[in-house]
Amino acid sequence: MSADHALPASDEQLTGRLRMYYWMRLTRTFDERMVSMWKQGRGVGATFSQRGHEAISVGAGLALAPDDVVAPLHRDLGCYLVRGMAPDRIFGNLLGKATGVTGGRDANLHGLGDLSLGIIGFISHIGLSMPVALGAAVAFQQRAETRAVLTFIGDGGTSTGVWHETLNTAAVFGAPLVVVVENNQYAFSTPLSQQMRVSDVASRAEGYGMHGEIVDGNDVEVVYDAVRTALERARSGGGPTLLEAKTMRMLGHAIHDGAEYVSAELLLEWEQRDPLAIFEERLLASGVEGRDLRRIDRRADQEIDAAIAAAEAAPLPDPSQMERGVYVA
């Protein structure tokens, strides 16, 4: 498994909002290239578009301190990238290559765990990362370490029993845990109205006795500030936080899903609030030069081109190794 993904030399100087823009753009470019590869038949199995989720995954990911731990899901690509998971390792995983994060064992964006980067890989049973993230938080608390844990879940995931068990237990323990709900209006084809009878998931925080907050999930700076504050609260003994980030899943659940069940009007409404576009607009209005953003765009293109080329050229896993690693030797 390869080492950390360092920022290219030319971008190491990127700070603050330009750095934020770089990660947003890298995530968007990765996603667009991935989607077109799958449409061209160059993919293996399924994959999951990230479109519309970049502000949450990047904003929350950037808010983490180096020693914090995160348990992301399948629409949190930006978070994996920000934590230092190299794009070629992720493309390698998407293509089932030996160089992928899981060496061809777990599928597409699943199971992208790497403890050296402080990332816990998830399983398809949505909700099951929640108690694992809580356990990591409890470990930090037990050893009196000032570290916090971040995890994500979708609106559909909030209907599971393990969601309830985890939030209640996190509150009882006062655990340093931050849960970001990516409320993207649909769980596969099921709209929010068939998932819950409340308009805000965050309103449930009160019922657990924890801090709850609603944030604009399409505004990367808002997400960053809210997650950073929540993580600081967690590290300083203030207990867990439930953050609901409102957004929209702009494409289907997975690549094979045309999402015909989503109205064109709803998509159009959210398209006006595209997280990349609103952030770029704000940067330009604040005096950032367009050519600086385009330079970052080109850098992202080059990085993703190189990652795809490396992943496509990488070897497939050796079937003779298939039974290895079930157990720690």
Binding site: M1, V69, A71, V101, T102, R105, D106, H110, G111, L112, G113, D114, L115, I120, G121, I123, H125, L128, S129, M130, P131, V132, A133, L134, G135, A136, A137, V138, A139, F140, Q141, Q142, V149, G161, V162, E165, T166, N168, T169, V172, G325, V326, Y327, V328
Partner: protein
């Protein structure tokens, strides 16, 4: 014949003192020894902490010695607290989880089978936890406080499964399970908790995972058992000896990985094998044993491998029903007589 006749076991050190402990006291001693040795070892579960010390009092006194953080009471949430143990283990702790009754382990099934068991294979995350599951019946506990669900976990890649039959192994296998870098499910036979006493070495007594033990030597038939059924098998073997039938009792001790070397060696010695477990016979651990023995030792056998287990029925509550349901020494004696006559 004595327990621990297995010559592959490391001898105890010269300073080792053997004391008589109950099965329950031996489990408790293992927890205390490991918690004193290693600050990363901790205990969690429902009612395990404080001054209460667990539904069966296995963790009694641990909170007083090690504090509430290392002996952690959880809310009623099997799925969450097993998931928590996975997260704690990934961060370098060695949690020992008590599910109050093995029956309730199903409420944690996803956290065990889907998450913890697959993690190392998928992305290399080590999950060194132990789940202690008080199992088995015979004490009128009804359908939901008597179960033996070990076969589900033996069927799951990535888990190890142990089931000690006596106090010395209860201690030694728990210490081995805590030190193992993989998720281990430790089935403790609650009918033995206070009813079985035996010599237990003091200190860091380790019984390696994956090693069966010959609980009694014999030449006519092998009785392969584990957990509470080893005591029944030993009782049956005593009675059979009076009839001139010399039964060997092989105590599996570990159900995953199985000690095929010891199992096949015993079958080769006796040419007849009876497999006994408290769990349902259908698709139980005995089914795998019988199939593998038939495949690998067919020519050594003078009779088909025979299995004795519970019927395909939930565990009934009322004493005559449960007695009819559960294998015991009487049923083992009858099955061996048939097997020897084959």
């Amino acid at each position: 014949m004595t327990t621990n006749a297995d010559s592959r076991l490391a001898p105890s050190g010269p300073e080792t003192i053997h004391r008589d402990l109950t099965y329950l006291e031996a489990i408790q001693e293992a927890l205390r020894v490991e918690m004193r040795r290693d600050p990363s070892v901790c205990v969690l579960g429902e009612d395990v902490g404080g001054t209460f010390g667990g539904a069966f009092k296995v963790t009694d006194g641990l909170a007083a010695e090690f504090g509430d953080a290392r002996v952690r009471n959880t809310p009623l949430c099997e799925l969450a607290y097993v998931g928590m143990a996975t997260g704690m283990a990934l961060m370098g702790l060695r949690p020992v989880v008590e599910v109050q009754f093995a029956d309730f382990i199903t409420s944690a099934f996803d956290s065990i089978v889907q998450f913890a068991a697959t993690t190392h294979y998928r992305w290399g995350g080590p999950v060194p936890w132990v789940i202690r599951a008080p199992s088995d019946g015979g004490i009128s506990s009804g359908p939901f406080h008597s179960q033996n669900p070990e076969a589900w976990f033996v069927h799951t890649p990535g888990l190890k499964v142990v089931a000690p039959s006596n106090p010395a192994d209860a201690k030694g296998l728990l210490i081995a399970s805590i030190r193992d870098p993989n998720p281990v499910i430790y089935f403790e036979a609650k009918p033995l908790y206070r009813s079985l006493r035996g010599e237990v070495p003091s200190g860091e007594h380790v019984v390696p995972i994956g090693r069966a033990s010959i609980a009694r030597s014999g030449s006519d038939v092998s009785i392969v058992a584990y957990g509470a059924q080893v005591r029944e098998a030993l009782g049956a073997a005593d009675r059979l000896a009076h009839e001139g039938i010399h039964a060997e009792v092989l105590d599996l001790r570990t159900l995953k990985p199985l000690d095929w070397e010891a199992i096949l060696a015993s079958v080769h010695r006796t040419s007849r094998v009876l497999i006994v477990h408290s769990a349902n016979r259908l698709a139980g651990v005995g089914a795998e044993l019988a199939a593998e023995i038939a495949e690998l030792a067919f020519e050594a056998l003078d009779a088909p491998p025979v299995r004795l287990g519970a019927p395909d029925t939930p565990t009934p509550f009322s004493p005559p029903l449960e007695e009819a349901f559960r294998p015991d020494a009487d049923k083992i004696v009858a099955a061996v007589r048939d097997l020897v006559r084959y």
